[in-house]
């Protein structure tokens, strides 16, 4: 009950009869006045809200026009006014966020993030909100948070704009994961993405490149080949396929693709370098298919000679006593029959690869044969597996 221990009139302080009646009447009058005032205040609140909404709409139009015209500071100021007058309007808030993102800077990013988080409280599944939050988190290097928001953006409501279709979001997520070095999670996203990729050369190319970055040249080659099926003369697709084939140890195939790429007008200097490597590998690799065993042994000895010579040349004055070079020399002196054996071939290629790692640390200048022997070593690894 109200005022349990409060002052209450004792028997001799009881309010006189007339006063009580008067007060009851007055309280009723007050209640009526309160109801009337409530109605009036409600009307005023509605009018005030309506005025705010109208003012916000004007400010939004002004802000959008300014942003479109490239006047970001004034556009942002106008959009801020729109948001301050109509805080619940997601369209205004997102427009402001887009403008702030375009303006860049830590302060703008912080403001955009706050606005998006507030908006997300009301519309947690709206793709654009989660997508933009993901980008902001990615920009600050918070990959886990960005991944969470990307996933919300992908699995939230149906996309409300072509810009936010699930495939594009997944591509961005995979790129972020690759940038952060998380190749396993990136590959998982790419495998999820592959079935949804439309049969367009550009989309296949993009996916192929991502697979290459993720260290899966086989899937990359599949995508580049698909791109070439759609657009046979696509130089980028040929170059990508050549790179993937090179990584797979398919040097003949790589040479064919890379030659095609150059024919189709590929300008990337890397394409030419990779073609040279593919050719060199074909001429020096003891593991190439179709070789007789004596030729394999001869090529291995040639590689060991080259590596020993490089090691000693790079060691300078200490060349005479280089233990790794000495070891390569001893390995080379094994009988031809032993060198022909597959295990010895692979062991020899791996020794050359180890020597190249040492050479890379000693000599500043690069020899094209180094890249070729590395590629051979990759093939040897694949063969050993």
């Amino acid at each position: 009950m109200v005022d349990e221990r409060g002052p209450s009139p004792g028997p001799d302080r009881a309010w006189p009869l007339g006063l009580v009646q008067r007060e009851v009447v007055l309280v009723i009058v007050l209640a009526v006045v309160a109801i009337v005032l409530f109605g009036m205040t409600r009307s005023l609140a509605e009018w005030s809200a309506g005025t705010d909404v109208a003012a916000a709409a004007r400010a939004f139009d002004e802000g959008e026009a300014l942003v479109t015209a490239g006047d970001l500071p004034r556009g942002i100021a106008a959009l801020r006014r729109a948001v301050s007058r109509d805080r619940l309007n997601a369209t205004y808030v997102l427009a402001l966020v887009r403008a702030l993102t375009a303006a860049g800077g830590a302060e703008a990013a912080a403001e955009a993030r706050r606005l998006l988080l507030q908006l997300r409280e009301r519309e947690p599944d709206r793709p654009e909100i989660n997508f933009r939050l993901a980008r902001l988190s990615a920009a600050t290097g918070d990959v886990d948070e960005a991944t969470r928001y990307y996933n919300h953006a992908m699995y939230g409501l149906a996309p409300d704009s072509p810009e936010y279709d699930r495939r594009r979001i997944r591509v961005e997520l995979a790129t972020l994961l690759l940038d952060s070095g998380d190749r396993e999670r990136a590959l998982a996203e790419l495998f999820a993405l592959a079935p949804d990729v439309p049969d367009e050369a550009a989309d296949r190319l993009e996916l192929g490149r991502l697979f290459l970055r993720a260290g899966d040249p086989r899937s990359a080659l599949t995508q580049f080949s698909a791109a070439l099926r759609v657009e046979a003369g696509n130089a980028e697709a040929s170059a990508g396929a050549g790179e993937a084939a090179l990584a797979l140890g398919s040097f003949v195939q790589a040479e064919r693709y890379l030659q095609a790429a150059i024919r189709q007008g590929a300008t990337d200097p890397g394409v030419r370098a990779r073609l040279d490597t593919a050719r060199l590998v074909r001429s020096i690799s003891p593991l190439s298919s179709g070789l007789v065993s004596s030729e394999r042994a001869r090529r291995l000895r040639g590689g060991l000679d080259w590596a020993e010579g490089r090691l000693r040349a790079c060691a300078g004055g200490a060349a005479a006593s280089d233990p790794l070079a000495d070891e390569l020399a001893r390995f080379r002196q094994q009988p031809l029959a032993t060198l022909r054996e597959t295990d010895t071939l692979i062991d020899g290629v791996n020794r050359i690869a180890s020597a190249i790692a040492v050479i890379a640390g000693r000599c500043p200048d690069r020899d094209p044969a180094e890249a070729a022997w590395r590629a051979v070593a990759q093939t040897a690894g694949a063969a050993a597996r």
């Binding site: 005022d3 409060g6 028997p11 302080r13 009881a14 309160a34 301050s84 302060e107 606005l115």
Partner: protein, 584 residues
């Protein structure tokens, strides 16, 4: 209660109490609704005034001129018509509750509404919660007076109206109830809990119906990340306490300065403050008004370290200027603003340090949230209100422990370096002394008002009266001391011995003020006899003035050795019987 038949009312007397309580309950609900409406109207009017004064994109000249010119108008209004409407309103409400039986003139809420809308709407860095409290309390008091309720009922309505208005203004009903008990009544055990709860609930229902359920701040879920993180919150408590002291001392110092200026400048001081605020707003528009939007930014990580530091400093200075120059507006919202900035900045520092000790820490927003409570506890000195207010804002218990730790440390530091709470200190600057908790709690027994003599006209001498004339008066009246000044403005006390020495030294014609003591003790009528006896011997010549609490320059009586002897020497002296006033 004895049964009594009035002969005119067809109920027995036992039913009178029920009718009384029911009536009070009905009145409480009506006051809750009206106070809620007043708070909503006040908020809407401030917004409308802001939009009207500044438009959508104000020019620099407009930003400077609006607060200056509007403050020119409010300066006139506050000096000529609404003197009690300056400042926050909480101290005035406390004074009305404790010293004037809850009587607030109906002009006060009207004046506070008008001047508050003008001042806050024109960009002064002040809050709307304090004014809402005064408006709600004034409305309740005016209605109580209009209904001719007994004095204790009128007094009881003041915290009811105050809590209802605050509940609607801040959308925190529990914190509003606690604020009324903790700050207005200054007693958490006050028997008005039920009434304040009912009124606050009614007011919040009104506010939410009119303005919607949208919370004042959108706060993400924050929690203590690791027990070690409490160390960071302890540091926040220390920083908050020091910031509270700095703000409090700055505010009181600046206000003392402006009160010390000639009275003729009083009318123009708000305009001086307005001009200063206008210039500040050109560079920092964020400090205008209540600043909820920027608190929200800090809570949601929308501000960076240096932005928060700059806003904290500028907002603190702007609030000090706005308040000390006599404008109408409170320090409730500015305290929260400063707290959010101090906390947020501290959060950034903690995040920077955390990797060094490899401990997970919360977002800067979590620190901003706790910082709000910390500075509120340090400045306003209402720790329970602070804790529950943050809880009502977040509706999350996870942040409770760091909040309480930081609050208590801030409160401790604030009390250590500024013993007097800010509202009491502001009242003292206005020459109003509120009774201490001890005085309020003292029950029965003799009080200064019981033993003082009121026939004291003959004890006064004007400050310009020559020493010889003053000595003659003391001799004639057989008084060991005289009061220098007038009954409504005491200047000091002069002992007969001092007058005699002055005459002996050949200074007969010197004014009495030159030999009076300026360091003298006084009591108020409600002080217990123990306080009277303790202070009596501190004054020269055994004269202890009894001053009004509502105006500590006004003399209500005096206690002399003779009066004490009369009271205690008489065997017939009977201890007056007195009961606690339930309403405080």
């Amino acid at each position: 209660m004895t049964s009594r038949w009035t002969g005119r009312w067809p109920f027995r007397s036992g039913e009178w109490r029920i009718r009384d309580s029911q009536l009070f309950l009905a009145l409480t609900i009506v006051i809750g609704v009206l106070a809620g409406l007043s708070a909503v109207l006040f908020a809407l009017s401030i917004d409308a005034a802001g939009h009207f004064f500044f438009g959508m994109a104000p020019s620099t000249a407009r930003v400077i001129l609006v607060p200056t010119l509007v403050s020119l108008l409010t300066g006139v209004l506050l000096s000529k018509y609404f003197r009690d409407a300056r400042g926050s309103g909480v101290p005035q409400t406390k004074a009305a509750y404790h010293l004037r039986q809850g009587v607030i003139h109906p002009r006060v809420p009207i004046g506070k509404f008008v001047t508050g809308v003008l001042c806050i709407g024109s960009g002064h860095s002040m809050g709307r919660e304090g004014p809402s409290v005064q408006i709600g309390a004034g409305l309740a008091s005016a209605l109580g007076q209009w209904l001719r309720l007994p004095p204790e009922r009128v007094k009881a309505l003041v915290p009811v109206g105050a809590s209802a208005a605050l509940a609607a203004a801040f959308n925190t009903p529990v914190a509003a109830v606690l604020f009324a008990l903790e700050e207005i009544i200054a007693d958490l055990n006050a028997p008005l809990l039920g009434s304040t709860v009912v009124a606050s609930v009614a007011a919040v229902i009104v506010e939410r119906t009119l303005l919607g359920n949208e919370p004042l701040f959108h706060v993400p879920e924050y929690q203590l990340q690791h027990p070690i993180e409490l160390v960071a919150y302890v540091a926040l408590g220390i920083a908050g306490g020091l910031a509270s002291v700095a703000f409090g001392k700055g505010l009181l110092g600046a206000r003392r300065f402006f009160l010390g200026l000639p009275a003729s400048t009083r009318m123009w001081q708000p305009a001086m403050g307005g001009l200063a605020i206008g210039l500040v707003l050109v560079m920092f528009p964020q400090v205008a008004g209540v600043g909820y939007e920027h608190i929200d930014q800090a809570l949601n990580g929308g501000l960076l370290l240096w932005g928060m530091v700059a806003l904290c400093v500028v907002k603190g200075l702007a609030t000090i200027v706005s308040y000390s120059t006599g404008n109408a507006g409170g320090i409730f919202a500015p305290s929260l603003f400063l707290g959010a900035m101090v906390g947020g900045a501290m959060g950034f520092v903690v995040q920077w340090l955390a990797p060094m000790v490899n401990v997970p820490v919360g977002e800067p927003g979590a620190y901003a949230l706790v910082g709000m409570g910390t500075l509120f506890a340090g400045i306003i000195r209402a720790p329970m209100t602070s804790v529950f207010m943050i809880f009502e804002i977040t509706q999350d218990y996870q942040i409770f422990v760091p909040l309480m730790v930081a609050n208590l440390i801030s409160l401790f530091i604030s009390r250590r370096y500024q013993p007097e709470a800010i509202y009491e200190a502001l009242l003292k600057q206005d020459r109003v002394h509120l009774p201490s908790a001890l005085t309020r709690q003292s029950v029965g027994g003799w009080r200064a008002g019981d033993v003082m003599r009121t026939d004291i006209a003959a004890l006064f001498v004007d400050a310009a009266t020559p020493v010889s004339r003053a000595l003659e008066r003391a001799t004639t009246e057989a008084a060991s001391s005289l009061i220098v000044g007038r009954p409504e403005a005491i200047a000091g006390i002069v002992a007969r011995e001092a007058l005699e020495r002055a005459v002996a030294d050949g200074r007969s014609t010197s004014p009495a003020s030159t030999v009076m003591s300026v360091d003298w003790a006084h009591v108020h009528p409600d002080h217990g006899i123990d306080v009277v006896l303790d202070r009596f011997n501190r004054n020269p010549g055994g004269l202890l003035p009894v001053l009004s609490r509502a105006n500590v320059q006004a003399v209500e009586g005096a206690i002399t050795r003779e009066t004490l002897m009369q009271v205690f020497g008489s065997q017939s002296a009977r201890r007056p019987e007195r009961e606690t006033t339930g309403a405080g």
